[in-house]
Subunit: 444 residues, 2 copies
Amino acid sequence: MTPTPEQLSELVDAGDLAAISHALDGIGIAQSLSIVERLPAGYRAVVFRLLDKDAAMAVFEALDPELQAELIGELRDDEVRGLFEELDPEERVEVLDEVPAAVASRLMRGLSGPEQQLTGVVLGYPPRSLGRRMSPELVLLHPTDTVRESLRRIRATPIPTDSLAELPLCSPERILLGMVDLGALLRSDLDAPVAELQRRGVALHVHDDAEHAAVQVVDSGAAVTAVVDEEDRVVGVLTLEAAREILAEEADTDAARSGATEPLARPYLATSVVRLARSRVVWLLVLAISAILTVQVLELFEGQLEQVVTLALFIPLLTGTAGNTGAQAATTVTRALALGDVRTRDVRRIFLRESAVGVLMGSLLGTLGFVLAGAVYGFDLGLVIGLTLLSVCTIAAAVGGCMPLVARTLHADPAVFSTPFISTFCDASGLVVYFLIASAVLGI
Amino acid sequence: MTPTPEQLSELVDAGDLAAISHALDGIGIAQSLSIVERLPAGYRAVVFRLLDKDAAMAVFEALDPELQAELIGELRDDEVRGLFEELDPEERVEVLDEVPAAVASRLMRGLSGPEQQLTGVVLGYPPRSLGRRMSPELVLLHPTDTVRESLRRIRATPIPTDSLAELPLCSPERILLGMVDLGALLRSDLDAPVAELQRRGVALHVHDDAEHAAVQVVDSGAAVTAVVDEEDRVVGVLTLEAAREILAEEADTDAARSGATEPLARPYLATSVVRLARSRVVWLLVLAISAILTVQVLELFEGQLEQVVTLALFIPLLTGTAGNTGAQAATTVTRALALGDVRTRDVRRIFLRESAVGVLMGSLLGTLGFVLAGAVYGFDLGLVIGLTLLSVCTIAAAVGGCMPLVARTLHADPAVFSTPFISTFCDASGLVVYFLIASAVLGI
């Protein structure tokens, strides 16, 4: 039975460390992690200290950089040094970005020479660049070696197993010749020249955008991809797993933003109410202020509203439907852009397809609206609602589909840019269309 | 210069195969993949045949199962057999789910004995279960072996390199004793007993929900996790990379659904307009029909509207803001649920936190609304708008935050369930609050 953070907090308050160790005894990494994440700041370090060495290390590695930084602040220097030394260089850099400069330099000084040097390499590349996310720990195979000699090189270099799956075969100048699959290496004749196992390998550039590079790696499906610098020398590798992690972070950010919030850097329950509000309020303000446009549009038609108040009843229905249609198109195209399925130059094709989709859905909804509204409020109003639904669905789909491309062209994040613009645009334009049609049909 | 799908389509129409091979010459896997994905159905097979063997294989493996199935339909049996044999068993099963039964059994018959058997194992487990996504290809280490003997076992079993990173150490009855890191194995003394390298390993159950298991694996950070059956015998492994892939698919589906569309099984431009409409229309109908509630609510207050038509001007602003606040809360909590940061039993804490967040944001927006509306439409209406914004933000945040938990309790997908409910609920409740406050303040 896994203890809850609440139970543990009480034990900490009671100072009953023995009971805590007992409660933590034999629970898995995943459970320990979720407990440490969900504990209040003050209690985290106390419980963390009582995890067994391996579990503590695994948990620390799995924590978000922000929580790692916090924990580092709460632990003693000697405890921290061990944890920090155990991290991979690229993981250390993420922590260094979170802690105060003074702590950062102390952490760096605490590292052993070679680890310090490897961390420095990653730290040297700009944020969001591939250099920041690659693993600088390498085993380079030489084309003149035999399989036996290559295995000896691996033996001699203590690098993480996951970046061993495929090994870069390089010229003496570290120029990439190809990749060698570890499985193949393990299964070949020890005296065979390793060059025989060489497979074509594509190299990524250390200054590439990390997300863009990650998409290429996941598409290529290569377990390990070499990363080269300006002189085309191999300086690191990106594993498929690391690439997926980068994309997962992106997907997470996009999901949050399409819900009009900033992603939280730490677990929900470990985030203060003020921080939660801060992650949303800017978005909410932007959306609310842009919504003032709808008030102004309606003012233009106040006359018509006074004559036929019934028109007001359908406002939320119509603006809502328009907004949903626009959001659907924007979501679909944003995803297609992220996957590289469409390019900005496809704008014409997308506009035409989305218009067609809009007409299809609009006709269905329009007919429905005509029948229902017509039955209750008479033929004329039914006609107004039906025609409006048809028009707004078409407009919203077409504009919603092109919006992410506009964002991309403006070098804005499609997921971010589309959301506020779409909803406001659909509301405002929907209302204009609604009242124009109403004036025409009802002759007001 | 990578050729565009359009250019290639023209070359296919012209029957100029030589020009196509020339155009494809030396382009990377990622580019080839994106070309094959974006080509119209008829042209795909023609171009695919002209890729060089390795590239073709890599591209085929990277395609979505639905496109793999389509391509299989367009290629000759002998071509297909090779491609299908090259896939991992768990990948084959995904294809088999997509093709007609007749094709499926032909594909299975085409496999070599052992591959047929491995595929059968995966096929035997229910969809969405971990068994369907694990790799059944195993090297089991024996506690009595030396490192040398263990390396010999690896030599003898041609399994994918990525599932070699950590190897299950098992009793003769295939009961998991622990995991052995391949890197450690490669670096230890050949005569040392492999048992010395044993590390604690947690096993997942073959009938676990695949997504749930994937979350555990990513949290634990283990490169390879053993999968056991009812008798606790190791029957497969799940790699960290495979776990991330499962979660990526989930995130993709959730992103689509929070945008009120079904995810597309194939690239955007390869999806017909009708399919696009079909992926959205159900959602749009649900949302539109539930929005009829707002019409009914407004009917209740038609009297007030007739007296003060100006009230109508703010309807889209208020419902929009309420909807956004609700969506923000729902998005945040849905994510926290997916990450396991919150449990359904945290409902009270979440309700309180979200209410507090709502009050915070509501006070800010309310003050703003009071000042702006007050300046233009006078004190009374300003007061109405201000109070309404405060109330709807609070209600929407509180309800929006709890909605995903309700969904989870009803065993519905939070991302799916929350979206339609939230928007309608916020619109309707927002309008009620609006007109109640208006009646009170304006005495109508």
